[in-house]
């Protein structure tokens, strides 16, 4: 078969040159494709993080740029860890975290279990239930203050309707005892569907045959639920808790709009407290140390948790 001059020329071209003509090597493409993303994340996340760590050892204040910056060593950290206000904040955060997770897991799992019975129009209602989760927490939180109004709020009237109490007799966001629950309720309303969706995926991943086998062994429904359903859904549930835990540890928008941390500092979660230190009191160095502590906490807890999660998954 006669070869065309072009083919002959192509065969004569040395390999590296030919590759350059054909296109970039896979390795070059890989780096060209990945580098911009990594670069952007370094610039917007890691560089600021390093800067934060540096600032955390100083007494810098953003609102006084001309003042000399002094290195204060670990003083910021020492002050934060011994500050009783911050422990109060941590307690508020813990209360919020624990109760939102408990309620969302219980309600979310129950809903998923009910939906999984595949009653008619279950898909339609699932879509409805899911709606709150994708909305802007700040805008929704702002509107919840309206729902929580003592005289005119829909929430107060709903409670009054169920319990018979006077709707004007209690104020969810004005009362020191109720405000921590006001934020728990709003967050649960918003995020229960998230847990529900993950549980539903878990329930649907359980093969039918397992239940058939259990039925043959004459295991009661109750027993099937505790020895089959729950352990099989557990990894999914733990994943949901991980997501909710991280998100609610960072919680800012919903709560800042709902209560703004008040009354007093009963609902002042760490992010709100940090915002106050950094952008209202302008104690930049101090707030940076605070930010580092928060980040280390969330990262540390998440890593421990992921290890536990993997152990459950492998089992």
């Amino acid at each position: 078969m006669a070869q065309s001059p072009i083919t002959r020329a192509a065969q004569a071209t040395p390999e590296p040159l030919a590759r350059r003509i054909r296109g970039l090597s896979d390795r070059a493409i890989a780096w060209i494709f990945i580098a911009p993303s990594i670069f952007l994340l370094l610039a917007v996340n890691i560089f600021p993080l390093i800067w934060t760590i540096r600032l955390s050892f100083t007494d810098y204040r953003v609102n006084r740029p001309n003042r000399d910056i002094e290195w204060v060593g670990l003083q910021n950290y020492r002050r934060i860890l011994t500050d009783s206000d911050i422990w109060q904040t941590m307690q508020a955060t813990a209360h919020f975290l624990i109760w939102t997770i408990v309620l969302q897991v219980l309600i979310g799992f129950a809903l998923a279990w009910l939906i999984n019975s595949k009653f008619r129009s279950s898909n339609f209602w699932t879509t409805i239930i899911v709606l709150p989760m994708m909305l802007s927490p700040a805008v929704v939180g702002n509107f919840w203050t309206f729902l929580y109004q003592p005289q005119i709020g829909l929430f107060n009237h709903a409670i009054a309707f169920v319990t018979g109490a006077d709707p004007a007799s209690f104020s969810m966001i004005g009362d020191v005892a109720l405000a921590p629950w006001a934020i728990v309720i709003a967050d649960t309303w918003m995020w229960t569907p998230f847990v529900m969706l993950i549980c539903l995926a878990g329930l649907r991943s359980i093969p039918e045959s397992i239940y058939e086998a259990a039925e043959c062994d004459r295991a009661s429904k109750w027993r099937q639920f505790w020895t089959l359903t729950v352990p099989m859904v557990l990894p999914f549930l733990m994943l949901a808790v991980l997501f909710r835990g991280i998100e609610n540890f960072k919680m800012f928008d919903l709560v800042v709009q709902l209560t703004g941390g008040g009354p007093g500092n009963t609902t002042e979660l760490t992010s709100i407290n940090l915002k106050r230190e950094a952008f209202e009191k302008w104690r930049t160095g101090y707030a940076s140390a605070y930010a580092v502590i928060l980040f280390v906490t969330v990262f540390g807890l998440a890593s421990i948790y992921v290890k536990a999660l993997n152990r459950v998954k492998d089992r």
Partner: protein, 312 residues
């Protein structure tokens, strides 16, 4: 229908159906209340007890888009006839239109920053996801984890240096600054989700294209991208929704030119007291597109919110 042991009885289904429906109705109530309040008059919105049935009015929407001043009845009588229907609505409240409100601008900012960052995020994210999916990248797992971990940082914690950095670069309160920031925030989501979607495309398609003489890059553009179109579209919607909803960075880093709607809506006040119908109108316009997208996305919802960790 085939018999199945785990298929619940009819009675169980009925009970489950009623319980779930009840929960759904309760959960949707606040959202319906927002939409309804948008069509109430200010007096109806704060009526005691709350009004379920009311005469709908566009007052809230008109108030949302205008700034108004109160005038005396004598001055009002001296004015010429109202030219437009919305002017008439304002006059019926004993006020005149002083000018447009900021809501339009803020909404537009949300659109610009939302779409801008989503676009950038998809370009960067698709490329990185493809590389992570198809090539042997050194330290791949570590890089992927690094990308994910950027999502764990509380926004307020990185806001301090970003605030300083943006100030030095002149990016504070600019569209470009917010677009770059939101791109970075959403990049973890887009890389993780898209990697999952691209992993599902059989590698044989590309190999066939490579044998046919395509370069890698051509194969990526002409074979992989069309195959991943659904995944890219749903990832883009997720990025758009998250950028759309973001509040913490927006409230700290923007105040005027580039302020988005979420920090603005809660600051809406009327003439004398909070104008809840206007707030609700602003919230409705802002939230309803997201509700529509959520319904469209329902098949991919789970995957999106778990960063691709749960598929199905």
């Amino acid at each position: 229908m085939s018999y199945s042991v785990s298929d619940p009885s009819r009675r169980t289904k009925w009970i489950a159906g009623i319980a779930v429906t009840l929960y759904a109705v309760i959960t949707i109530l606040p959202l319906l209340w927002i939409i309804a309040t948008g069509f109430k008059s200010p007096a109806d919105s704060i009526a005691y007890p709350p009004k379920i049935f009311f005469e709908p009015t566009l007052e809230g929407y008109v108030n949302l888009f205008t700034t108004r001043t109160r005038v005396n009845p004598e001055e009002m009588a001296a004015l010429p006839e109202a030219q437009t229907w919305y002017e008439q609505i304002v006059r019926d409240q004993g006020q005149i239109i002083a000018g447009p409100s900021r809501y339009g601008e803020r909404f537009l900012n949300s659109v610009i920053i939302g779409f801008g960052s989503t676009f950038l995020c998809m370009i960067l994210g698709t490329a990185a996801a493809y590389a992570f999916s198809r090539f042997r990248v050194p330290l791949k797992e570590d890089l992927l984890f690094f990308i994910l971990s950027t999502r764990m940082m509380p926004p307020i914690a990185v806001a301090i240096p970003i605030f300083l950095m943006f100030r030095n670069l002149g990016l504070n309160d600019t569209h470009l600054g917010m677009i770059l920031l939101y791109t970075a925030v959403n990049l973890s989501l887009s890389v993780w989700l898209l990697k999952g979607f691209i992993d599902e495309i059989p590698i044989e398609y590309e190999e066939a294209a490579l044998i046919d003489g395509y370069t890698r890059f051509q194969a990526f553009i002409k074979v992989v991208l069309p195959q991943a179109a659904t995944g890219i579209a749903s990832t883009a919607i997720f990025c758009l929704i998250f950028a759309w909803n973001e509040y913490a960075f927006a409230v700290l880093l923007t105040s005027g030119t580039a302020q988005t709607a979420p920090p603005f809506i809660p600051t809406i006040i009327g003439v004398g007291g909070k104008d809840w119908p206007a707030v609700a109108a602003g919230a409705s316009i802002f939230l309803i597109p997201v509700m529509v997208f959520t319904i469209l996305l329902r098949k991919h919802l789970l995957r999106g919110i778990t960063f691709g960790a749960v598929r199905k």
